[in-house]
C-alpha cells in the first residue's frame, strides 16, 4: 500500500532578489494534522519561504506538490483557494473596519450578489471567535480598538473563515502574554486534531518543544535540517544548526599580546538600559580591541548597539568616549565623538541606493571636502578612492552606483565611510549578513586590520562562530542581560550555546 502523500511538499525552491539569494534549493514537506516548525535566524529565508507558500512570491525554480498534485501558487488568492492561509507577523488587518468585516474581507456573504449581509457576517464571525476561545470580542467593533493579542485572534478567525487545510503562523507568540500563549497552543491543538496542518515559526525553542511535531531549520537560504523530531532532538543540536558554520571560515590571527592590558578604554558604557529591551549594561572597549556580543534573536543585541550610537534613547546609563559623556539619544553627538555604525539593515539604514559609492562614502565627512559648504569634488573623489582601495572594494571605481555592488562590497562601502570619517569606535551589527560566504573571510581580515591600526570594535552577530573567531573578548547575552564575559579563546561554541540557553526548559 502506497503511503499517503504529504499534504504539502516543496522541493528545490530557489528565490533570488537583486544581490541576494534568499532561498537556495529549500525543501519542506508537511503532513496533514502536524505542527511543523520552521526555525532560523533573521535573514535565514523563513519569510521568503512562507511568502512563496502564500503565493506572494514566485520561486525562480523548484516544485510544489499539494496533496500529491503539482501546483503553481500564482497569487495569494490561488493559495487561499487550495486551503493555505497565512497569518503574518505584521498583521494585515484593516484597522478602520469592524472585526466581522475584516474576517470576511474579500468573501463577504452577500444577497443578490453584492449587498453585504452584515448580520450573517457578524454571526459567523461570532461563531469563529467562540471556537477560538475569545467569545468576548464583539464582531461589530473596529479592529483598531483591539489589543494586539485580540487582533491576532481576528487574523486567525479570518484564516479559518476559509476552508483551510494548512495555516502558516509567523511568530504568533511574539506579541502575546503567557496565558494568551496557552490559548494559542490550545487553538493549534484543536486545529491539528481536526486534520489541519500548521507551519509554526518561532524563535522560542521551548514553544517548539511543547507543540511541535517536526522541525525544519533554515540557514542562509538553505534547509540545513529537514523534518527533525521536535520533541527529542537535543536543543543544542537545533541551535547549532541555526547558528553554526557551514563553511570553515578563516579568521585572522589575533595580535600576540593581550589587548586587555593595553591602554585606556576609548568606549565605556555604564549602566546603559532600555526598558523591555536590555538590562543595565557595563562594557568597555580599548583601542585595538574587538569585543563581541553573542546571543540569540531577542537577546537585545542590536538594540544595545543602536542605543550606544544614540539612535535609540536610553532609559538609564551613560556612554562615554575618552571619558567624556555623550549626549544621550543623539546620533550626531556620537558621530562627532568618533563612533561609527555599520547597521544590520544596510540598505534601509546605511546606504543611499541611488547614489554612487563616492557619495555614500563621503556623506559623513562632507565638511572635510568643503569650504563654506562648497564641495571640492576632486578631493572628495580622491579620498573616497583611497578609503575604498584600502578595503579592496570591488570594482575599483568609486563612481559606480552603490546598488550595483555585492553585499560584501556594500558593507565595505559602509566601513569606508567611517574609515574616511576617522572614526575611533566601530559598531558592527551583523557585519556578514547578506554577504557571500566566500567574501566573509576577507571582511574578517579587514575588521582585524582596522583594529590592529588602533580602532576599537564592538561586534554583534547571531553567528556564534563569527563572534568567537573574530572577537578578543566576548559578552554573552540572554534576554537583555549579560550572563558571561570571557576572552574569546577561553570559550567554545558549545559553552556559549549552553550560556545563551541556560535556564530555558529542556536544554
Amino acid at each position: 500500500m502506497a503511503p499517503e502523500p504529504p499534504l504539502l511538499s516543496m522541493s528545490g525552491i530557489t528565490k533570488s532578489f537583486p544581490g541576494v539569494r534568499a532561498l537556495d534549493g529549500v525543501a519542506l514537506d508537511v503532513q496533514a494534522g502536524e505542527v511543523h516548525c520552521l526555525l532560523g535566524q533573521n535573514g535565514a529565508g523563513k519569510s521568503t519561504l512562507i511568502k512563496v507558500l502564500a503565493g506572494a512570491h514566485q520561486p525562480d525554480t523548484g516544485t510544489i506538490h499539494w496533496r500529491g498534485e503539482p501546483v503553481t501558487l500564482r497569487s495569494p488568492i490561488a493559495a487561499m483557494r487550495l486551503g493555505i492561509a497565512t497569518i503574518y507577523q505584521e498583521l494585515d488587518l484593516v484597522e478602520h473596519l469592524s472585526v466581522a468585516e475584516n474576517v470576511h474581507l474579500g468573501h463577504e456573504p452577500t444577497a443578490a450578489g453584492f449587498v453585504v449581509r452584515g448580520k450573517v457576517a457578524r454571526e459567523s464571525t461570532a461563531q469563529l471567535l467562540k471556537r477560538l476561545g475569545h467569545p468576548e470580542i464583539d464582531p461589530a467593533r473596529l479592529v483598531g480598538e483591539l489589543s494586539a493579542a485580540q487582533q491576532q485572534i481576528v487574523s486567525m478567525a479570518r484564516a479559518l473563515s476559509h476552508d483551510v487545510r494548512l495555516i502558516v503562523m509567523d511568530e504568533p507568540s511574539a506579541a502575546l502574554d503567557p496565558d494568551e500563549v496557552d490559548n494559542l497552543f490550545r487553538i493549534v491543538g484543536d486545529l491539528t486534531a481536526a486534520g489541519v496542518a500548521v507551519v509554526y515559526i518561532s524563535h522560542r525553542l521551548e514553544e517548539i518543544r511543547r507543540i511541535g511535531d517536526r522541525v525544519t531549520v533554515l540557514k542562509d537560504g538553505r534547509a540545513v535540517a529537514v523534518g527533525l523530531p521536535a520533541k527529542t532532538t537535543p536543543t543544542r543540536e537545533v541551535v547549532a544548526l541555526m547558528t553554526g558554520r557551514n563553511v570553515e571560515y578563516v579568521f585572522p590571527e589575533r595580535p600576540a599580546k593581550d589587548m586587555a592590558a593595553v591602554g585606556q578604554p576609548v568606549l565605556e558604557v555604564r549602566g546603559l538600559a532600555r526598558n523591555g529591551e536590555f538590562e543595565p549594561l557595563d562594557l568597555s572597549v580599548r583601542p585595538g580591541e574587538i569585543v563581541g556580543l553573542a546571543g540569540l534573536v531577542g537577546s537585545g543585541r542590536s538594540e544595545i548597539l543602536e542605543t550606544i550610537y544614540g539612535a535609540r534613547k536610553p532609559d538609564a546609563g551613560q556612554v562615554l568616549v575618552d571619558g567624556r559623556e555623550l549626549r544621550p539619544g543623539s546620533v550626531r553627538a556620537a558621530v562627532r565623538a568618533g563612533l561609527g555604525l555599520a547597521p544590520e539593515e544596510r540598505k534601509a539604514q546605511a546606504l543611499l541606493m541611488l547614489e554612487s559609492v563616492t557619495r555614500n562614502v563621503s556623506v559623513s565627512s562632507m565638511s572635510r571636502f568643503s569650504r563654506g559648504g562648497w564641495i571640492d569634488r576632486a578631493a572628495e573623489l580622491g579620498a573616497a578612492r583611497a578609503a575604498t582601495r584600502e578595503l579592496s572594494l570591488r570594482p575599483d571605481n568609486p563612481n559606480v552606483p552603490v546598488r550595483t555592488l555585492s553585499g560584501g562590497n556594500q558593507q565595505k562601502a559602509v566601513l569606508a565611510r567611517w574609515l574616511l570619517r576617522g572614526c575611533r569606535v566601530l559598531l558592527l551589527d551583523e557585519p556578514t549578513r547578506g554577504v557571500d560566504v566566500g567574501a566573509r573571510a576577507e571582511l574578517y581580515a579587514v575588521v582585524r586590520r582596522l583594529a590592529d591600526e588602533g580602532l576599537a570594535v564592538l561586534l554583534v552577530s547571531s553567528e556564534v562562530p563569527e563572534v568567537l573567531g573574530l572577537a578578543d573578548r566576548v559578552l554573552v547575552l540572554r534576554e537583555g542581560r549579560v550572563v558571561h564575559t570571557a576572552p574569546a579563546r577561553e570559550l567554545d561554541e558549545h559553552r556559549v550555546l549552553d550560556l545563551v540557553m541556560e535556564g530555558s526548559p529542556a536544554s
Partner: protein, 339 residues
C-alpha cells in the same frame, strides 16, 4: 607571419571604431538622456509654434513674453525641486506668492518704495517657509498636511489684506523693471533673475554640502540620520528655501502685473510640481535636477503660448498638460528600468 598578422589587424582595426562609441556614450551620459529628450520636446514645440504661427510665435516680443511668463513660475519651481528631492512637497507655494505679493503692495509698504516692496515680499516668503518648516521638521506634521494648511491660511490672509481689491503699484522704480527700456541686450530683467536663481539653484544642489544633504534625506532619511546628518534642520532649511523662492517670484509678479492681487499664483503648486516631475525629479525623493525642472517650466509655458496664439481654449491646454505629465512619467519609468 605578416599574412597571419593581418586577420588580427582586422579585428583590432575595429577597435578604434569600437572605441568611438564609448566616447560618444560618455558625452551622452554627461549630457544625460533625459535632458536631451526634454530639449527634443522643446524643439518640437518650437517647430510646431513656428509652423502654425510663423510670424507671431517666433517674434522677438513673443519669445520675450514666453520667457517672462516662465520666470515667475520658474523661480517657484526651483524651490519646489529642492523640496521634492528631499522627499517632501510644498502645496503652499501659490498661496505664499499671493500673500507676499499683496503684503508687498499695500499702501503702507509702498511708502518704503522699491526696497520696501522687495524686502516685504522676501520676508513674507521666508516667514511662511519658516512656519512650514517648523511644523514639518519639529512638529512632525507630514508635509502634505502642513503645506495644505498654509495654502488655506495664506490665501485667506491675502484676501483679508486686499479685501478682494487689486492693489496698484505706484512706485516707478519697480514698474520700470517691466518696461522695454530696462531690457539688457533684449533680455528682460525678470528673465535674468530667473537665470540667476536657476544657476544658483543648480550650484547648491550639485556642488554644495546642502545639496548633498538634501539628496541624502530624500533618498533615505534613516540612513542620513544614522550617517550623522541633522535631518530635521535640513528639512527646515528646505521649506525656508522654497518660501524664499516664492518671495522672489512674488516680486517678479508685482513687476510683471504692476499690482498685487489675492488671486495671484493660482495653481502654481500644481504647475511647479508638474514641471519638476516631467523634468525627472522623483516624487518619492532622492533624485532630481534643476535643469530638468527648468526645461519642464519652459515646455509648459511654450505650450500655453502656442495654444493661446492658435486661439485654443484653456481647457484644451489643461488636457494637453495632463497627457504630457503621464507620458513623461511613463517614459521615465522605462528609461529607469533599463539603467
Amino acid at each position: 607571419m605578416t599574412q597571419h598578422a593581418s586577420p588580427p589587424r582586422d579585428s583590432t582595426g575595429k577597435v578604434p571604431s569600437a572605441g568611438a562609441p564609448p566616447a560618444w556614450r560618455g558625452l551622452m551620459a554627461r549630457a544625460d538622456v533625459r535632458t536631451l529628450s526634454l530639449l527634443g520636446v522643446l524643439a518640437v514645440l518650437i517647430i510646431i509654434g513656428g509652423i502654425t504661427k510663423p510670424d507671431e510665435f517666433l517674434d522677438t516680443r513673443n519669445l520675450q513674453l514666453v520667457l517672462t511668463q516662465a520666470s515667475v513660475i520658474g523661480v517657484v519651481t526651483v524651490g519646489m525641486t529642492f523640496v521634492i528631492v528631499s522627499g517632501g512637497i510644498d502645496l503652499s507655494v501659490g498661496a505664499i506668492v499671493a500673500l507676499a505679493s499683496v503684503w508687498a503692495t499695500t499702501v503702507a509698504t509702498q511708502e518704503y518704495g522699491f526696497v520696501g516692496i522687495l524686502f516685504t515680499a522676501v520676508v513674507v516668503g521666508l516667514g511662511c517657509g519658516l512656519v512650514n518648516g517648523m511644523l514639518i521638521a519639529y512638529g512632525a506634521i507630514v508635509p502634505f498636511i502642513a503645506t495644505l494648511a498654509m495654502l488655506a491660511s495664506a490665501r485667506g490672509l491675502a484676501l483679508q489684506i486686499t479685501d478682494g481689491k487689486t492693489q496698484i503699484v505706484t512706485v516707478p522704480s519697480v514698474l520700470d523693471l517691466g518696461e522695454r527700456d530696462a531690457y539688457v541686450l533684449g533680455i528682460p530683467p525678470l528673465v535674468m533673475v530667473f537665470a540667476v536663481v536657476t544657476i544658483i539653484g543648480w550650484l547648491i544642489l550639485n556642488r554644495t554640502t546642502f545639496g548633498r544633504r538634501t539628496v541624502a534625506v530624500g533618498g533615505n532619511a534613516e540612513a542620513a540620520r544614522l550617517a550623522g546628518i541633522d535631518v530635521r534642520r535640513q528639512r527646515l532649511y528646505l521649506y525656508l528655501l522654497s518660501g524664499l523662492c516664492c518671495g522672489i517670484a512674488a516680486f517678479l509678479l508685482i513687476i510683471l502685473a504692476g499690482s498685487g492681487q489675492n488671486t495671484n499664483g493660482n495653481l502654481y503648486e500644481l504647475d511647479a510640481i508638474a514641471a519638476a516631475i516631467i523634468g525627472g525629479t522623483l516624487l518619492s525623493g532622492g533624485r532630481g535636477t534643476i535643469v530638468g525642472s527648468v526645461l519642464g517650466v519652459l515646455i509648459f509655458t511654450t505650450i500655453t503660448n502656442i495654444f493661446a496664439l492658435n486661439n485654443l481654449q484653456s481647457d484644451v491646454q489643461q488636457i494637453a498638460k495632463g497627457a504630457i505629465i503621464v507620458a513623461a512619467v511613463l517614459v521615465q519609468r522605462r528609461t529607469a528600468s533599463t539603467t
